[in-house]
Point group: C2
Chain length 797, copies 2
């Protein structure tokens, strides 16, 4: 077993005395800059005695995790430089902002991207002032931080991001600092298992660094308060070989850390060399590091007589310094700052001493400048087949049946094939890729899997291009890491359960919005969701699997970032998918059906329809280019079928009624152009929907979403939306529509109620429809099987 526990009595001393001295000084410099960020407005080099005038009025920020992260960063610099490693740094513990900012400033990258934060006293003053300050930077590493591909704002995703970053990046090492608080989250707890999906030859390596500083905000952490034996078992059980570095005495800790990292890098190379030279891809036990160090290490030992360093009290600002705080705190802060000996660290101009500056790697080997952490720099267009080659022939609307997702599966198969080398496109999903009818992708590739395999398994290989684990968090986290490092991907999921990653979507959308505003950040490939197994077709699953609300959630985020598509058939889905895979820096949500359904548009018509995003379907309408009596609008596959069936019924029974059928693919067309870049102008909207005629809208999701998008349109008061109202459980697909009043009969009834003076024919039809609904109800109660209904489904063209 490759293992070793390195504590405060290291058996070896890999650092020479001079190196030890300089490493420690570099760490002190990072710590000094971190404390400075939290406290100082001025006097950045302590050239004069500290006074309250030099101190920020609002003291904000987080000290607790910071010195530990500075320690790690300093030591990673050493091994990067020694071995010319290609390494990125992920700061998982959340509020480690001061550390990553300090370390990237020391290595020079910070000043390169923010020239105003220069490497001199004036720059230091600005570096300090901007932190946790109005208009400045937040207290965690984020998009503004050079070298960061991970936002520390919401905890739990660092390890998934790290794995996403190294898939298909054989030379990359993702050093991932995991806070012991973060480690309690569910997503992090399962992310340790990502090692069962890594290919040691074709992928890079993840180096997890579990940072045990013992406390969260005010509670201890679970992993710091179990026995050493349990922690060791847990990490080995997850498939890792842990190296432990534990203590607090800097000189001993430096030696122990250096020795552990030397071992770890040697292990990594052994593993990769073995896999790459012998082709033996057997899952290795990858090395990892456990660093146990005091929270707020090197900070004040006590504050107001209470222990501080090593306790939860060191989490944020350990020492209150202000006009109203105890006056001795100012002196204590000054002593704390001077304990780092800034005069030894920075020259007269405020520039890091050359003997320290040379400890950092150079150029893009600096973790703050690694291009993988600004993935747009590396992003290349996908090679895409012509999606028209996969078209379903549609001789007439409704004439053929097809599974929309199965057709797109063939397109995706060839996207995987065309981009197999260099691989930069992957499909992610929680074991639903086959269930979602995308099986065709397995003609091109396998599921990547590096755990044990048995005879009856299908489509598993260490070399697959599809990643499936029963964790939506992992799928999303891996995909985000993959995109953030400049590649492309698609997440396919059941519609209802994608809510599991609502919060992760939030954070990614916020990342995209912020990076648009940062000049040195490059655009990424879009995050593409394909949601299927939708609310309307849940057969044996029922109520728990019915929730179309992810799109409600998504459109709360910035209009510049989010796009939502509901293609009504296979050719439209092909067109939309092609568009999304070409797009940049969006979150695209595509909702589509997987069950065989009627096809409406030829490829030409689909392409035109999807390009416009919304359109009148003349072949289904009876308004003949005139002002209609009513508009039947639809969005989504099942609603489209029901609206078309309603149009058929009306045409058959009331041929003189002028009905216009409008289909919506691009949901945000409904919003005003002033609110969303895709939105229709009022003139265009009114031309489609009229200003005063009733609009009966069959919508895939919650009906009020359409009202939220259209509340300020002229004919808002004439809009009647039918959608999912949390009704129905296990029943037929058609009955689901009836229970939520989305079905053809309720749509016709609504038209009949809203269009005035339809006379006897209208009254007759209304009764006919009501009889149909009673008939259906009796049928469901007494027979209830799906098959006979399906025959009734085809739209009568």
């Amino acid at each position: 077993m490759q293992t070793e526990t390195l504590t405060e009595a290291p058996v070896a001393t890999p650092l020479t005395p001079d190196m030890l001295r300089r490493i420690d000084a570099y760490w002190r410099a990072a710590n000094y800059l971190s404390v400075g960020q939290i406290y100082l407005l001025d006097n950045p080099l302590l050239r004069e005695p500290l006074t309250l005038a030099h101190i920020k009025k609002m003291l904000l920020g987080h000290w607790g995790t910071t010195p530990g992260q500075n320690f790690i960063y300093t030591h990673l610099n050493r091994v990067i430089k020694a071995h010319n490693l290609d390494m990125v740094y992920l700061s998982g513990p959340g509020h480690g902002g001061p550390a990553v900012v300090a370390s990237t400033y020391l290595e020079g990258t910070y000043s390169e991207v923010y020239p105003n934060i220069s490497q001199d006293a004036a720059g230091l003053k600005r570096l300090f002032t901007q932190f946790s300050f109005p208009g400045g930077i937040s207290s965690h590493a984020g998009p503004q931080t050079p070298g960061s591909l991970h936002e520390g704002g919401e905890l739990g995703y660092s390890l998934s991001h790290a794995f996403g970053a190294v898939f298909d990046n054989p030379d990359l090492i993702a050093a991932c600092v995991i806070g012991d608080g973060e480690a309690e989250t569910g997503p992090l707890a399962t992310a340790w298992h990502s090692n069962k999906f890594l290919n040691p030859a074709r992928d890079g390596a993840v180096l997890p660094i579990l940072h045990l500083n013992g406390y969260k905000i005010s509670n201890p952490t679970v992993l710091a308060r179990i026995t050493h034996e349990e922690l060791d078992q847990l990490l080995r059980g997850y498939g890792w070989t842990p190296y432990f570095v534990e203590g607090h005495e800097p000189a001993l800790m430096h030696q122990a850390m250096a020795e552990a990292l030397d071992h770890i890098i040697a292990d990594l190379w052994d593993i990769q060399l073995n896999a790459r030279e012998t082709g033996d891809l057997t899952r290795p036990r990858w090395p990892m590091l456990v660093l146990r160090s005091p929270k707020g290490w090197t900070g004040p030992a006590t504050v107001d007589g209470r222990p501080n360093e090593g306790t939860f009290r060191a989490h944020q600002v350990p020492l209150a310094v202000s006009a109203s705080a105890p006056p001795e705190h100012l002196a204590q802060l000054e002593a704390w700052l001077r304990s780092y000996k800034p005069e030894e660290l920075f020259d007269i101009n405020g520039c890091l001493m050359p003997e320290l500056a040379e400890l950092a790697p150079a150029g893009t080997r600096r973790m703050g400048a690694n291009p993988h952490a600004n993935g747009g720099q590396l992003l290349r267009d996908l090679r895409l087949p012509d999606f028209c080659d996969y078209a379903v022939a549609v001789p007439a609307p409704g004439a053929v049946l097809a599974s929309d997702t199965a057709v797109t599966g063939q397109f995706l198969r060839d996207v995987l094939r065309l981009n197999a080398e260099p691989r930069n496109f992957r499909v992610f999903g929680p074991d639903e890729t086959a269930s979602n009818k995308l099986e065709a992708v397995f003609e091109a590739t396998n599921r990547q899997w590096n755990a044990e395999v048995e005879a009856n398994d299908e489509f598993l290989s260490p070399d697959g291009g599809v990643l499936e684990m029963l964790s939506e968090h992992q799928c999303q986290g891996w995909l985000e890491g993959y995109l953030l490092t400049g590649r492309h991907g698609l997440f396919n999921s059941y519609e209802a359960f994608v809510h599991i990653v609502d919060s992760m979507f939030n954070q990614h959308a916020k990342w995209l919005k912020l990076t648009l505003e940062i000049p040195w950040r490059r655009k990424l490939a879009s995050l593409n969701y394909l949601l299927t197994s939708t609310v309307w077709r849940q057969d044996h699953n029922g109520f728990t699997h019915q929730d179309p609300g992810f799109i409600d959630h998504v459109i709360n985020k910035k209009a510049s970032i989010v796009r939502v598509y509901l293609p009504p058939d296979a050719n439209c889905l092909l067109s939309v998918m092609d568009h999304c895979l070409r797009s940049r820096h969006y979150v695209n949500v595509i909702v589509a059906g997987k069950h065989p359904g009627p096809q409406w548009l030829s490829m030409d018509a689909a392409q035109k329809h999807c390009t416009e995003g919304i359109g009148l379907w003349p072949w289904a309408s009876t308004d003949a280019g005139q002002e209609p009596d009513a508009v039947l609008a639809c969005c989504g596959d099942v609603p489209t079928l029901e609206a078309l069936a309603a149009a058929s019924i009306l045409r058959e029974h009331l041929p003189e009624l002028k009905i216009r059928v409008v289909n919506v693919v691009d949901l945000l067309k409904l919003q005003r152009s002033t609110e969303h870049p895709h939105g229709l102008s009022d003139a265009d909207y009114d031309a489609l929907f009229t200003r005063d005629k009733p609009v009966v809208f069959a919508f895939h999701g919650y009906p009020w979403l359409v009202h939220r998008l259209t509340y300020n349109r002229a004919n808002n008061q004439h809009l009647h939306v039918h959608g999912y109202r949390e009704e129905g459980t296990v029943t037929t697909a058609f009955d689901m529509a009836v229970l939520n009043e989305l079905d053809r009969f309720h749509l016709v009834l609504d038209v009949l109620n809203l269009v005035p003076s339809l006379g006897n024919k209208g009254a007759y039809l209304k009764q006919f429809i009501k009889d149909k609904l009673v008939e259906h109800k009796l049928y469901i109660t007494h027979h209830g099987e799906d098959l006979p209904e399906i025959r009734e489904w085809t739209w009568k063209g």
Copy 2:
């Protein structure tokens, strides 16, 4: 170390030959009923040769997990009966519906709650027909299933629910079957650590049964494909002592399972006895079980020449039987059904043979009849102090500052005290209870914690009433389990990160909706959220911590279930909290501030205001009971302050303008009474908001949410909502409002733009306001500290 691995060569044979025979027969009966549910419409006892007419036309449901769960249930029955255990059963693997339905039918509970599903041939036919059938039951255990307190629809929460069930239930054992697919989810992966929070004396026990059947839908599972050593290390690392039962030969597996369960029950008792008699609460290593059995155990070995039992192909319906399927499948199904020897299991009337029926426990010891699984039966009202006793004295609106949540913390402290014995109220949170300013609760109780403790820890005890782990999933799952077993609780969280449990909220809301429709289910205490650290006050956290959208998510669920409150000050929060703790079967979302803010209402006024949920504030208005020129509406603490400040400015500068100030506490008052039970009638709404005057609405959340609620109100076109628009990051609280145009100045500007003919005074004021905004912008850019602004904040009464 207490451990043993029991495989197919058991060292002991705890079951006598007769018991072994009967246990196996009982299991076969459960399996027979499970296959029957999936396939049969008729001929339930196979009294005649099977024909296609007996087979359902749509074959739906999940076989894979079912026989393993039947095996577990049968063996748990044995130990319950042998030791008179008080045990509930949680079916984690999702689609185990056929198993739990079969087992509760066999023990008699199913027929007690559904008399029509009687214990005879006619009842069997109905039992089979209803499964995965229109109007019937879904393919997972859920609210319709007697004995279920856990919905198998979305995976990952079974173990958290199990712990929630046993907190403060010392005699209860929650047997929790965890699927190896489910075990890959994040929430489940961290839930193993719940053992660090359990009190062996005062809480009951959880018995996790990790069911390794090797596959998810079409992939193998991670935990089934790591080495035995790794799995053992992992579970021990999580703090458990695993017992392994592995194999497939029924006779041997029965003996091994019986022996393992005997050991486990003995271990549980040892642990509990030790803790309860000696008072030694040291965290024990609780026992657990790993059952490795074939997926689709006892099903067809091969189908169409391909292996089925023990492969992913057994996940759903292993064998297609229909007019279009291979004709030999019908015979294969009949052979499969007959392999269970139904003639030995059921008497001539279709009733389970007495020698088998007596294997089940009796009365409420049957897991299907355990009252803990229908917690409303056990629910008792909380003892509540008079919330008026905690009132903040408010001599005049805006005259005093207070932290709203800190005040409510005192009320919660006394709720904890009053209900300390028998304890049936708990506070849950991801280590934010102190940060959210509810510290007062620690005067009454501690955080429950049973891992190691160090000198500088605070408020930790194995006996605490507050549960804090850095996992919103755990907090929510524990609380759900606690509520579902008939207790009360509160989840406090940062507003932005409660999205982490969006999906869990969905499932709980669906549970509540469905149980309202099930006559034998009793109402539960409401699930109460207190969301604070809101979007408007994020100081050093910034953009990642800004998301007020949970309420958008919540109100998509049934109006009969969801309630949303945004109390504007401390007295209102007290009144709302008291109301929520008394309520039943809702999800209550309360959004409140934690930072000291101005107080508006005396306790009397607050109580009246909260009872009405919405109201005109005459003291802030200048309409003097007449039709106003404009309405200034507000909802949420920061928006209320800004709207009142805007009203002050208007009164000062344009005293003749008739402004009405309306405050909203109960958000769903805005909806029509036809859509939400709290909704205002159109007449009442119009009386407050007018039918045609401009309404400038300052809203806590995303502005379009108000439009979604009010789109069908008369003056919809005159409603202008200001709210969070995803702008701003680290800045002052006031600047956050400015960046999102929620501030007093933008509100005044909007009024000036909307009210016609304000003449020169209006133009003058507009310029004055614009100057103020420029001044603010310059101030932020050049000074940016928070303190001086706060002085400007007090509303001028």
